[in-house]
Amino acid sequence: MMIEALIAVALVGALVTFLAPNRIAGKLAFAISLVPAALSLWMFSAFDGAGNALLEGDLAFESQVEWLQLSEYSISWFVGLDGISLPLVVLTTILTTLAIVSSWTPIDERESQFYGLLLFIEANLIGVFAALDFFVWFIFWEAVLIPMYLLIGIWGGPRRKYAAIKFFVYTNVASLLMFGAFIALVFALPEVTTFALPDVATAMLNGGPEAMFGVAGTTLASIVFVAMFIGFAVKVPIVPFHTWLPDAHVEAPTPASVLLAGVLLKMGTYALLRFNFTMFPDQVEAYAVPIAAIAVISVIYGALLALAQTDLKRIVAYSSVSSMGYVILGLIAYTQFGVGGATFQMVSHGLISGLMFMAVGVIYNATHTRMVTDMSGMADRMPVAVGILVAGAFGYMGLPLMSGFAAEYFIFFGSFGADFPYAPIFTALAMFGIVLVAGYLLFAMQRAVFGPYNLETDYEVSTAPLHDIAPMFVLLGLIIALGVAPDLIFEMITDAVDPILDGGEL
């Protein structure tokens, strides 16, 4: 019942905060969010699962209750955690708490609604990572959209309405595509009468779907694979489905960006891993080269786009496209280090991008501009915030002893030795992306934070308040901790990843 407790605390907390007066909403939400954070950390220490949740592994904190019955198909409330989902749940709870603290400065209207929505998102995100029945998962998956739409639409920047609706339409259409494909798949699977993901995975590995509507089983599996891949690719996002991301990020208020980049993007990669890369090993093999090509294009193209930006937030946003490209490369490598590294990168990128967005947000709070061209020498006035921004940038570039290095190293190590054709060449091309990352980040740093102090806007810049700095220090600490000792989570990740890779021999 631990997972239910986590979700319930966040949901009830959301309602309480929504009805609380604006004055205390921020502090109240922070206090409430400490409960799921503490609970999830306790779950992390008490984790006793083994193997992969979908492939007959031992689940931790499992619970399953019959929910609905529709003709022969039953839907149940089915949640549980394995080594892949637990780190993401912990990431969610910690990032939410930190995002709440980082909102205290910038959010100054309709606070109770804002913090209520943040907690509501948290509840749904936990649900997405913990759910093991398709319908439970899909309900949480879709429920994330509405609060994020409102967060961007109400508290966002000047073009917030456009950005919010673009985000909503893109991801909702993608969800519809994926939903239809998966339902068709389940109906075509013989002897599957539940929507429990482990049952579907088992059936997929033991023969796959039968012919339906005149489409042969293997063809149907391929169609479903592609449809679901596209559905999740929008969420990740992968080039060419990425165009909603910079708009949403730039217009979103900082705390929403933190959650968007930190956790919401991981919903896409997590779903790819859970669905496409666990249930369709044959299709993964067959489509390895095009997917690897898309991954490399995402890395390079995202980095080139970031290089061309002058808005700090846009730079960080496009760098997410790049980083998600690494995740896809690691997944398609289909080796222990590749898939494990990809999962590690999900957590690592969640921490680092969260840190970067917070740092940019702190600078924006003081300067009211994010344009690189409008400022220089910020290090002079905000040494601590800038220091953290630079540290985050180095994390992005993969400085050893920071989690970014460990993640990228695992991924490249895994993908270099992968079985698909031209794997080393793809890996080499993707590694070139790191050079570009270093290029655009250092270039932006050099212009904005170093050199003589100058600011185009008329604001007095002084050091940021402690409650803006503290969450960034927590994140930095976690980034370094994971960089120094990746085994904190990598061990449980590989334990859950291994069954996927020899999935055929179930």
């Binding site: 929910w67 749904n124 309900i139 959209l145 639409g153 919010a164 909702n172 519809l176 109906f187």
Partner: protein, 517 residues
């Protein structure tokens, strides 16, 4: 029926309680004419509606309509004795009780909301008694089992409705809407009566089971009345289309809903529509079994509903997307939802269809909460006097976050977004339609998905207006009328609760549908 200890007519208790409530309201009105004691009048209506609801729920829980050892069996009423073997005029089975529940719930919600809405209005007692009378008619429609009782119940529901739409006597829009509603209603009643007479001519019966046995006994190769029967069925469909606001008799709905007081719009678009569907379900499953009728008239009547379903949902959604006023948007959305519920009849097959029909019944129940809630929000906005267009609603959330939160729930549920009750019923309709397996039903399922996706556009437009846009004008502080707020919040809570608690609803609906098929 033998298991049932009370006299058989008590089976109609949910409808009879409503009728008694209407009489009590008449008495109150005659003792104290022009009474403006809103608390007493609304209180009586709410009590009556809740009592009707409680009895219907109790009956369904006790097993009325269920066969077997646990169940109490179907209650048959007024079967005319042994020498008149025509079958019963009323039947209380699970389907009847299910729809009585929908009617009672909506009536209760609307009565509670009317407490504030009708504040200061001259015709208080008339308003409530007309509404309860209409609800009585709708409740009886759920149990009517003969074309005569169906027609009488339908008129009992319709006549008070015409007056209710016009209750704002000094408002030109209200009167005009009522006139349009009445004229189209009269026309469709005439068409329906003519259809009934044709069917009587072809079969010699008005009672639904008798019609079915008459048709079954007929010789398919040498059937003389195929034209009359077919035309009669077609005309009946016209009558149902009017009551459910489906194409081609839908165009009264936007006018009537917009001109009527908003609680009445909620009442008509939720309860009246559900009642229209129950008679359609009962007539077509009981009186015209597919395999028999198709053999006699040479065409499968589900085709009519397949076409009507697709056209209705498409017309409703496309028209809703182009509206400027909120109430008209909701009116067209209500037409679109009639199209979704029509899938319940379109998907019937010779050997089944309880899944789609059950899904349509579930949809009507969820719809009873989410649509009533949405119209009651409009009632709230009218109470505040904020205007009619989307722009007038801009920025309401800063002043009334709770009501706007509820509105968000209604809109997203109407669109079928997952964390709400509307998702399940739409999904069940979708899988039910696919499960039929015919190409035509695949097209219907595709139309459902496309229309749902499209509907998100105009539903989210309202959410965007209240939550995201800044107000165009400075409003005074908005009051929080207790009755309206209570009704809206309750409807919102039910829309959410129906997500986890959908199990009993879906079981009952599918069982009820299976029983009549």
């Amino acid at each position: 029926m033998a298991v049932f200890d009370l006299p058989g007519w008590t089976g109609l208790a949910p409808a009879l309680i409503l009728a008694a409530t209407a009489l009590v309201l008449f008495v109150v009105d005659s003792i104290s004419p022009r009474s403006t004691n809103r608390a007493v009048l609304a209180g009586i209506s709410v009590t009556g509606a809740l009592a009707s609801l409680a009895v219907a729920v109790w009956f369904i829980a006790a097993g009325v309509g269920q066969s077997g050892l646990e169940g109490l069996g179907v209650i048959e009423l007024f079967d005319g004795g042994a020498e008149f073997a025509g079958g019963s005029q009323f039947v209380v089975d699970q389907m009847a009780l299910y729809f009585m529940i929908i009617v009672a719930v909506v009536t209760a919600l609307v009565s509670v909301a009317s407490y504030d809405y009708m504040d200061g209005h001259t015709y208080q007692a008339e308003y409530y008694s007309l509404m309860i009378l209409a609800a009585t008619g709708m409740s009886l429609m759920a149990a009517a089992n003969s074309l005569v009782t169906i027609f009488i119940a339908l008129e009992l529901a319709s006549l008070p409705s015409y007056a209710l739409v016009a209750i704002l006597k000094d408002n030109r829009g209200s009167v005009e809407a009522s006139l349009k509603y009445f004229l189209i209603g009269a026309l469709s009643s005439a068409i329906m009566v003519y259809g009934i007479s044709l069917i009587y001519g072809a079969t010699g019966s008005l009672q639904l089971d008798a019609i079915a046995s008459e048709l079954a006994a007929a010789d398919a190769d040498d059937y003389a009345y195929d034209g009359i029967l077919g035309l009669g069925i077609l005309m009946l469909i016209g009558g149902f289309a009017f009551k459910t606001a489906s194409v081609p008799f839908h165009f009264w709905a936007p006018e009537a809903y917009e001109g009527a007081p908003a609680p009445i719009s909620a009442f008509l678009s939720s309860a009246s529509k559900a009642a229209g569907f129950v008679i359609a379900f009962r007539v077509f499953t009981t009186a015209f079994p597919l395999e028999v009728t198709a053999g006699l008239i040479g065409i499968d009547w589900t085709w009519a509903f397949i076409i009507l379903a697709i056209v209705t949902m498409t017309v409703g959604n496309f028209a809703a997307a182009t509206q400027d006023t909120v109430k008209r948007m909701l009116a067209y959305s209500s037409i679109g939802h009639a199209g979704y519920a029509l899938i319940g009849l379109a998907g019937l097959t010779v050997d089944g269809g309880e899944l789609v029909m059950g899904a349509a019944m579930m949809h009507l129940l969820v719809y009873g909460f989410m649509n009533t809630g949405a119209f009651l929000f409009v009632a709230l906005a009218e109470y505040w006097g904020v205007g009619r267009t989307f722009e007038d609603y801009n920025g309401l959330a800063t002043q009334a976050p709770v009501a706007c939160f509820a509105l968000g729930i209604f809109m997203f549920s109407l669109a079928g977004i997952p964390p709400l009750g509307g998702f399940w019923s739409k999904y069940f309709l979708f899988t039910g339609a696919i499960g039929v397996g015919s190409t035509a039903m695949l097209v219907v399922a595709a139309a459902l998905v496309v229309n749902s996706a499209l509907s998100l556009y105009y539903y989210s437009r309202l959410v965007k207006a209240v939550w995201i846009e800044d107000p165009l004008v400075d409003r005074d502080a908005l009051t929080q009328p207790t009755g309206l707020y209570a009704a809206i919040v309750f409807a919102a809570v039910m829309t959410v609760v129906l997500l986890p608690a959908f199990g009993p609803v879906s079981e009952t609906a599918i069982e009820a549908a299976a029983a009549v098929i």
